[in-house]
């Protein structure tokens, strides 16, 4: 089936209710195209979505999917992949979902290194609750709940990932369609946890981190001689306070995914339904 899969096969018949011009349209298109390009089809793909505008993605895509509770999408995705390593698992969420309520899970998902991809639609604001500061909002970003700005530094997701032992760290921009698709594809193809922070502008509530801002300021690493396999270089880039980068910031080509380390190679959905598994009586004998 995969040879005939078009990216539109990943589209559901629900029309997105995102605001016109929302960055999430481009983010989602790139995800669907990358999934099709890597030979996946909706029946072997599992998408886990978080809560918020970004979390609606599971409804607008067509695949096996679950829309989880706030901040907990990553452990759900890991559970799916461990139980059936044949599935292509993609987790999607926003900056609030991933770096605020889900920050603890993020750190542990990174170090667990399950072979799945994690796409965070980072618009640096809470959109669905109508414009409050998010963990990636700038220190002076004024909102109704932070009239003087959050007055605390934003979370640096790339640095957090690197410090937690990430094997793949990338950043993309939803409006740069070709480059975004390419970066998501690389995250899917990576053997391990493929993390992509996507600048996905909120046109309704964020008038600072706009399309124009990212278009003018992002440095495309692919147009430089940057080597994404150099962890020291990655350290410098993710901690650079003056510039923001697009592209793969770090990839460990030696990465061995969790499933391989733990010998998970077949679907746990298949169980012998005729009774207890063969050899189960040995479990009783152990207690003599």
């Amino acid at each position: 089936m995969s040879s005939q899969v078009k990216f539109t096969d990943f589209k559901s018949d629900k029309q997105p209710t995102w605001c016109p011009g929302c960055g999430d349209f481009g983010t989602m298109n790139g995800m669907m195209k990358a999934l099709a390009e890597t030979g996946n089809d909706p029946d072997n793909t599992f998408v886990v979505a978080g809560i918020g505008c970004s979390g609606k993605i599971g409804t607008y895509m067509h695949s096996y999917a679950i829309h989880g509770v706030h901040g907990r999408a990553l452990p759900v995705g890991a559970g799916v992949k461990m139980a059936n390593p044949d599935l292509e698992v993609m987790v999607a969420g926003g900056d609030g979902d991933g770096y605020s309520i889900g920050a603890g899970h993020f750190v542990h998902a990174v170090r667990r290194n399950v072979d799945m991809s994690y796409v965070v639609m980072d618009n640096r604001i809470y959109g669905l609750t109508k414009g409050q500061a998010s963990p990636t909002s700038r220190e002076d970003f004024e909102t109704a709940t932070t009239p003087d700005g959050p007055q605390q530094p934003p979370v640096n997701p790339l640095a957090l990932a690197l410090a937690s032992g990430a094997t793949f760290i990338a950043q993309s921009f939803s409006s740069d369609a070709l480059r975004h698709q390419e970066i998501v594809r690389k995250a899917i193809e990576h053997d391990g946890f493929g993390f992509v922070n996507v600048f996905s502008p909120c046109v309704t509530f964020n008038d600072v981190d706009t399309y124009d801002y990212f278009r003018d300021s992002l440095v495309d690493l692919q147009e430089t001689d940057y080597d994404p396999h150099d962890r020291e270089a990655a350290k410098e880039k993710v901690l650079d306070a003056d510039k923001e980068y697009m592209g793969v910031l770090y990839q460990d080509e030696e990465s061995v995914p969790y499933e391989e380390t733990h010998g998970l190679d077949s679907s746990m959905a298949d169980i012998d339904d005729s009774g207890a598994p063969e050899g189960a009586m040995d479990l009783v004998r152990e207690f003599y």
Binding site: I66, G68, M82, G104, H108, P277
Partner: protein, 590 residues
């Protein structure tokens, strides 16, 4: 009462109390004696009083009693803590050379056996074997064939080399000989018969883990918490041999979400925790139920609220399991009533979860989790395990559950409330699940009619279960008695033993032990037939008594215990007698 024998070893945490106790319990079990063990322990790694108690008989034993025949006391506090249970003629084994035990006084009427545990252990090859010297002395005191101890020592130490096994055997012999030489005249009139029976000895957490593997569970995610951790410890290293996997998650929130993910992928999946962990999991519990995901969640209860008393017994989470979570959510709540039932109810929990596509709470408790009990091996007859995966569709049958445009309907409105289930990878089955209210295809909706249809559909599963499943209580005692005693969970064994005390006092009772807490059996007829109804449970407010009053529209009497210690048979018999004699509305608290 069967002529039973009660033994304990007590000291400070870190003294090897647990492993020594277990070696003795296994020796008794291997000698064909029934064993029931219990533990007193505090929530600390080293120091503090801790004890391992063994009750043994040639007949089945189901509870602890207030009696100690032989006590190995490693600290003076061990004697103080057990003074109420020691009696005239009780034997206390202690090491008078130990600094803290030099001035110890053996209570009047009791027999002190001063055995230089440490120095005899050194003679046998190492001070670390002091407790084994005490076991040898205990064998002599109880006239128990020391060769059974050898077999237990071999099981415990054989993977560390034959030399160590031999040294331990020697240490036990030195303890035995010391008692023979120095206390030849003492009145040690215990006599532990052996039988040819083969028993297995295990605790509730182990039985739950074994039940999970037997039921085809392949995925377990958990976070360490007393007293549920042993479920994870049991599964780790065993479930892998059956194609399964254990994950120690970063927290309980992750644990239940990992388990949910695995269940969505089609695995039989489970998590276990204790009260504080259930609090954290409740958020995702609602999603599990609304997305109609089969999942087994085991709550090994301990004293609450908040962090409460982590190493003490309570059955305080019933309301949490029955009602926890916002909104209205169908679920099953099963309560095993013994270590053996921990196994069978776990198997059943997986079947119910998949047949009805709901979360299932397995309500165990500390008393069962840490209690080791002997059973005939065929109590865990693997050939009797049945597996029912419910309405799973495949590529051939999926067409019957699709919309005209080919969309799969994981929440199809059906007469029995149960919808088809397609595992990921099934062609044509791709679908969305969500905690948002959804239509038949799982897509978000706020349509008022669909909302009602989906709520009714989910609730209809409970009615279907009532029609298809047998939720009968377990019955003991005199079926025609006017006094009806009702209980749930781990109290069953104690209550059955209390029967003998009640009979001695001429009090006839009928006992119903209820393993299905939701949906639960309708006990209206039984209540109406009884003159007095007493509900026994280990909590302060009588949570189960409340729901039974609600169900039957009849007031009940209550016996509650919430000091952190499980009921004892003789004590419970007294409480019941008192409750039966008390006037309407009076409560009895143990």
């Amino acid at each position: 009462m069967p002529a039973d024998f009660n033994w304990a070893i007590g000291g400070e945490a870190g003294d090897g109390i647990d492993s020594t106790g277990k070696i003795f319990a296994q020796a008794l079990s291997r000698a064909g004696r029934h064993v029931f063990t219990s533990k007193d322990f505090a929530s600390r790694i080293r120091g503090g009083y801790t004890a391992y108690k063994v009750r043994t008989s040639t007949e089945k034993v189901r509870s602890v009693v207030d009696r100690l025949d032989v006590l190995v006391a490693l600290t003076p506090r061990t004697i103080e803590e057990n003074l109420d249970e020691l009696h005239e003629g009780s034997i206390i084994i202690y090491d008078g050379e130990r600094t803290t035990m030099q001035d110890v006084e053996i209570p009047e009427g009791m027999i002190g056996l001063d055995v230089p545990l440490k120095s005899l252990a050194e003679d046998a090859g190492g001070a670390i074997m002091a407790n084994v010297v005490a076991l040898g002395a205990a064998c002599e005191a109880a006239d128990f064939d020391i060769e059974h101890l050898d077999s237990s020592l071999k099981k415990r130490f054989s993977d560390k080399g034959t030399a160590l096994v031999e040294n331990n055997k020697q240490a036990a012999r030195l303890g035995q000989e010391h008692v023979q030489e120095h206390y030849a005249d003492a009145d040690l009139d215990y006599d532990l018969d052996t039988t040819d029976n083969d028993y297995v000895l295990l605790n509730g957490d182990e039985a739950i883990g074994m039940g999970a593997i037997a039921a085809g569970c392949k995925y377990y995610a958990g976070y360490p918490i007393t007293p549920a951790t042993d479920v994870m410890t049991y599964l780790k290293g065993r479930i892998e041999n059956f194609g399964g996997h254990v994950v120690q998650a970063e927290d309980e929130l992750a644990a239940i979400n990992l388990a949910l993910g695995a269940a969505r992928a089609g695995a039989r999946s489970m998590t276990a925790t204790s009260g504080p962990g259930i609090d954290l999991m409740t958020e995702t519990f609602g999603l599990v139920a609304t997305s109609e995901t089969p999942l087994v969640i085991c709550d090994v209860m301990r004293s609450g609220p908040s962090t409460g008393m982590p190493t003490k017994q309570e059955q305080g989470d019933l309301n949490m399991m029955l009602y926890g979570g916002h909104g209205e959510i169908p679920r099953f709540v099963l309560a095993p009533t013994s270590v053996e039932e921990c196994f069978w109810k776990t198997v059943e929990a997986f079947n119910l979860a998949e047949k009805y596509q709901t979360p299932v709470y397995l309500a165990s408790d500390l008393a069962m989790a840490v209690t080791e009990q002997t059973f005939e091996p065929d109590a865990f007859d693997m050939d009797a395990v049945e597996i029912d995966r419910g309405k799973v569709v495949d590529e051939e049958t999926i067409g019957e559950h699709q919309t005209e445009s080919g969309g799969f309907k994981p929440h199809e409105i059906t007469d029995d409330g149960i919808s088809p289930r397609a595992f990921p990878g099934t062609e044509g089955g791709a679908h969305m699940s969500t905690g948002l209210e959804h239509d038949e295809q799982g897509r978000r909706t706020e349509d008022t009619e669909m909302r009602i249809e989906q709520v009714d559909k989910r609730n209809r599963k409970v009615e279907t279960a009532r029609e298809r499943e047998d939720f009968s209580p377990r019955e003991f005692g005199d079926a025609d008695a006017d006094n009806l005693i009702v209980t749930w969970g781990s109290n069953e064994g104690t209550l059955v033993e209390a029967l003998e005390f009640l009979e001695e006092d001429g009090v006839d009772v009928r006992i119903l032990s209820v393993p299905y807490l939701f949906p639960r059996p309708d006990l209206t007829e039984e209540f109406e037939a009884a003159e007095e109804v007493v509900v026994v449970e280990c909590n302060a407010t009588g949570q189960f008594a409340d729901v039974l009053e609600h169900d039957t529209l009849q007031r009940v009497k209550r016996v509650n215990k919430y000091n952190g210690v499980q009921f004892k048979a003789d004590e419970l018999a007294n409480e019941i007698t008192e409750a039966l004699a008390a006037g309407e509305g009076q409560e009895v608290q143990a």
